[in-house]
């Protein structure tokens, strides 16, 4: 018979205000194997922990139950406390009498007291059969995979590389920069976006610790935290990048022109081209869906003119194998697609564009060289309408969430328009203004007061073409009047959505996404950069809409977390995982099918199913599914669980 101790916490009045802790301590103390039963105002405090340590030593306790708050709060605290007193930490268990008792039964004090005793008795049943366990130690690979070459992925990669870790940076497109490369200036300081980005991009390509894979995607991943094996699918660019020097002669001779998606269809690009001028790495790529060679072999002009003989029409895709210890998902965002918006003439009226298209217009290297011109006829717009919250904050039809950056970029764009066209009039339709960042509110107020941007609080009901103008019908809810504006150009602040393919990528990595497709963090407050799967980390708009400041902060936080993870010699994992009774297992394989973590595998030689200790998360799915009761969970065995249930019924 084990000698057990029970420690009942008041948690101030949180527990003691409802549960009669004195009575509980007294009653529990009467149980035969409970040698010590006391209550104290805050068990988690230093004197509280000291009480536990002293009792263990004085009464030679062999098991401890702390009746207090949720184990996710202080299980670790108390396990560490008993360890310093020489007890195996897995002999200490928490009986949650706060969240699961006192807080939910505040009006039923007697019943709450009875329930608290039952919870403690059930937990005692568990401790009576707990084994002494040791954390599992595993070796660790110190390289990191970063998926996404936007500002989030670039920041995380640089931080990690500067910390001495080898980084594999995988970017879907042919160059670095992501959406930030499309921007003109950034708020609230109006500093040009591209030069800031360029400095980081150049640092990445020259950094000895960073290996950059452009036109690449993650194809396959196996393993677990500290030991992932990955396959990178590097797609053919049809140009030998070791030879290409970015001289652009091929672009001059290429006869195929088509709308550039980088320029949001406002400008044209060639079938062999840079992603954008001055892109990093400054290398060209052939687009086979447009190139005449790939259609009918009728043109090889780029190949003829290339002084370095870099064009390779027969280049093949590559599969590259690497091993890493941690993975960052920094996949970024897209804007809400034209096809799904029935309103505002978006996609039909050429002079209705989205915020990113307007950014291209404002960019000095954009399709209009920074001049604001109507796409339809190239005239300078004299009246402009900005519509905020397009498809955001619209739970009935589109996205319920706020896209967070639109209020500020709209203010910035209206300001830049007014500076370029002083006699023009910008109008902004808004629902609320959200300017919560450092210097944002001041920036916005300046835009309204000093730049003469007219803010109208209300929604737009219809946008249509008439008399060469884009007519906008809206309402000003502050005056209660309907408004009609004959605008020359309309800019829609469309909702931010997760970029295409994130769901599939997340599934490969066993990370989870929410109902909108944003990657979910392990805990919104306490673990905002970790995914729900160990070793997979998040950065940037793939997790939620955010501006550059927040993206960079999060990316650095992610890099910091990973450095902490990889700086240890061994990874330690909780041993509370599944194990197999080899004499009972019949090798039916049901557990292999059911395991969500790929932690179960058949050992055909022995005819049984085994557990990969590093992958098992202790969820218990295999235990529930085993028809022979051959699997058990360490310290949550069937016997323990049934005994605990018996206490309650």
């Amino acid at each position: 018979m084990r000698r057990l101790g029970v420690f009942i916490c008041h948690c101030g009045v949180n527990i003691a205000g409802t549960v009669d802790v004195k009575k509980v301590a007294e009653e529990i103390g009467k149980i035969e194997d409970v040698c010590h039963s006391i209550d104290y105002i805050y068990m988690c405090s230093e004197p509280g922990q000291q009480l536990i340590r002293e009792a263990i030593q004085e009464k030679q306790l062999e098991g401890v139950v702390v009746a207090c708050c949720s184990p996710s709060m202080h299980e670790n605290t108390f396990r560490k406390a008993v360890k310093t007193a020489g007890m195996n930490p897995y002999l200490c268990e928490i009986a949650n009498i706060r969240e699961q008792c006192s807080w939910v039964h505040q009006k039923e004090k007697e019943e709450a007291t009875r329930k608290a005793m039952e919870i403690i008795q059930a937990t005692l049943e568990k401790v009576r059969r707990n084994e002494e366990l040791e954390p599992l130690a595993m070796s660790i690979n110190r390289n990191v995979l970063v998926i996404g070459g936007g500002i989030a992925g670039m920041t995380a990669s640089l931080d990690l590389a500067q910390g001495g870790y080898e980084v594999f940076l995988v970017e879907k497109g042919p160059a670095l920069g992501g959406h930030m490369a499309q921007l003109s200036k950034t708020f609230p300081d109006l500093s040009p976006a591209f030069p800031n980005l360029l400095a980081k991009a150049l640092e990445i390509v020259s950094h000895p610790k960073i290996e950059l894979f452009c036109c690449s995607e993650l194809e396959e991943v196996k393993g677990y935290v500290g030991n992932f094996e990955i396959i990178i699918h590097k797609k053919a660019t049809y140009v030998d990048w070791t030879r290409c020097n970015g001289c652009a002669r091929c672009i001059e001779v290429c006869p195929v022109e088509y709308p550039s998606s980088f320029d949001r269809e406002l400008g044209m690009r060639k079938a062999v081209d840079f992603l954008y001028p001055n892109c990093v790495p400054k290398r060209v790529k052939v687009t086979p869906t447009q190139c005449r060679y790939f259609q009918d072999r009728s043109c090889r002009k780029c190949e003829e003119v290339c002084p370095e003989k870099a064009i390779q029409f027969d280049q093949k895709d590559e599969r590259i194998h690497r091993k890493v210890g941690a993975i960052v998902i920094a996949t970024g965002f897209d804007l809400f697609p034209k096809e799904r918006l029935g309103e505002y003439g978006y996609g039909e009226i050429p002079d209705v564009i989205d915020g990113l298209a307007f950014e291209r217009m404002l960019s000095p290297d954009g399709p209009t060289r920074g001049k604001i011109l109507r796409p339809s006829d190239g005239r300078v717009p004299k009246e402009m309408v900005f519509i905020q919250c397009v498809a955001s904050r619209d739970p009935d039809r589109y996205m319920p969430y706020c896209s967070r950056i639109c209020c500020m970029y709209t203010a910035k764009q209206a300001k830049m328009y007014k500076e370029q066209v002083p006699d023009g009039q910008p109008y902004v339709f808004y629902m609320d203004i959200r300017s919560d960042g450092k210097g944002y509110e001041e920036f916005l107020q300046k835009t309204i007061e000093e730049n003469g941007v007219l803010y109208l609080r209300g929604r737009v009901s219809r946008v249509f073409q008439e008399d060469g103008k884009v007519k906008v019908w809206g309402v000003d809810t502050l005056t209660g009047k309907g408004i009609e504006i004959g605008a020359d150009l309309v800019v829609l602040a469309t909702a931010i959505i997760p970029s295409e393919g994130v769901k599939e990528l997340a599934a490969k990595l066993r990370a989870t996404v929410d109902k909108h497709g944003f990657l979910t963090e392990a805990h919104i407050k306490l673990y905002p950069v970790e995914s729900s799967t160990k070793g997979i980390y998040l950065a940037g708009c793939g997790q939620s809409p955010k501006d550059i400041t927040d993206t960079v902060s999060q990316a650095s936080a992610t890099a910091g977390k990973i450095q902490a993870l990889l700086s240890t010699d061994k990874l330690f994992q909780d041993p509370l995982i599944a194990y197999v009774d080899e004499t009972v297992c019949s090798g039916c394989g049901i557990c292999v099918e059911i395991c969500p973590y790929e932690a179960r595998e058949m050992d055909y030689r022995r005819g049984i199913s085994i557990v990969h200790v590093a992958l098992c998360q202790g969820c218990g799915a295999c235990i529930a599914s085993c028809p022979n009761f051959a699997c058990e969970l360490r310290n949550s065995s069937s016997v323990q669980t049934l005994r605990m249930v018996d206490t309650f019924i």
Partner: protein, 289 residues
């Protein structure tokens, strides 16, 4: 295949030309509209109060009777269609109200009838390509403005007629007749509806804006799906002339009248004499009559 048909009060009195042209065109397209026996008024408005079950009884009765006769019920009047379709939607989904109404009416209708507007019959059951083949007198690129109004489209979740912001069904119909549909921003805006009784000047203003917008986009004729819309847009033009000196009149037709022209029906059977603005000069100019 023949279709059960609910004409509604207006098509029996003020809008006979709407009713008759539809019946005649159907025969030419190879089906018959079988009038629902013993039909009553639909109630004319879908109740705004959620507990006003009494107002749902007339459409519920119509639906239950129709279900005894067939699987599809069609209507022409946009308001009847709105009331009957929404009642059907409610009876399909709200078990508690369905039970109450069935108990009171001593019937057992489950909401499993299909309610289709005549335009939907033409699209889904007949097919616009078939109509195009059967057209005798293509409309010679007549610039026709399709006016949907609101009753066909809203509330979208219940009506499910077409995209509520950018509908195209009416345009497809006009194209199949050889007309050139004119897109105009007011095509789904309200015509003023019942305001023409209490505050006629409001309805007149609505009609003025709708018609001038259509004309500005080049429309030669406005085509409507609803007797009340047609009344507001057509009969009100004399009032608009008094209020707006710059206004020019424009013919307003039921879509079935235009269908009749294209199918080569005798113009004398199309009820043009009931139109306030005479469409004959336009149709003559286009060589259609």
């Amino acid at each position: 295949m023949n279709y059960l048909y609910f004409p509604g009060c207006t098509l029996y009195t003020k809008a006979k030309n709407f009713d008759q042209t539809a019946r005649n065109c159907s025969l030419l397209l190879g089906f018959e509209l079988i009038e629902l026996p013993n039909w009553t008024c639909c109630g004319a408005t879908f109740p705004l109060a959620t507990d006003n079950l009494m107002a749902l009884l007339p459409p519920a009765r119509i639906l239950a009777r129709a279900k005894e006769q067939g699987e599809i019920l069609t209507t022409l009047c946009a308001i009847c269609f709105n009331v009957i379709k929404r009642t059907n939607h409610l009876l399909q989904r709200d078990g508690e109200k369905r039970e109450k109404i069935n108990e009171f009416m001593e019937m057992n209708y489950l909401g499993d009838l299909k309610v289709l507007h005549y335009l939907e019959i033409l699209k889904q059951e007949i097919g616009f390509s078939t109509i195009k083949d059967k057209v005798k007198k293509p409309l010679n690129e007549l610039q026709a403005a399709p006016y949907y109004g609101c009753m066909l489209l809203r509330p979208f979740e219940e009506m499910g007629f077409d995209d509520k912001e950018r509908p195209t069904l009416f345009e497809e119909f006009l194209e199949s007749l050889g007309a050139k549909p004119v897109d105009f921003p007011y095509k789904i805006e309200c015509c003023g509806s019942f305001q023409s009784v209490g505050s006629p000047e409001v309805a007149t203003e609505c009609a003025y804006r709708i018609l001038t917008s259509a004309m500005k986009q080049g429309a030669e004729v406005v085509v409507s799906t609803c007797p009340l819309c047609t009344f507001n847009l057509d009969q009100k033009q004399s009032d608009i002339l008094k209020a707006h000196l710059d206004f020019k009149t424009i013919p307003v037709l039921y879509f079935t009248q235009l269908l009749g022209v294209a199918m080569g029906l005798d113009p004398r059977t199309l009820g043009f004499e009931q139109n306030a603005v005479d469409p004959i000069p336009l149709l003559k100019r286009k060589g259609l009559v």
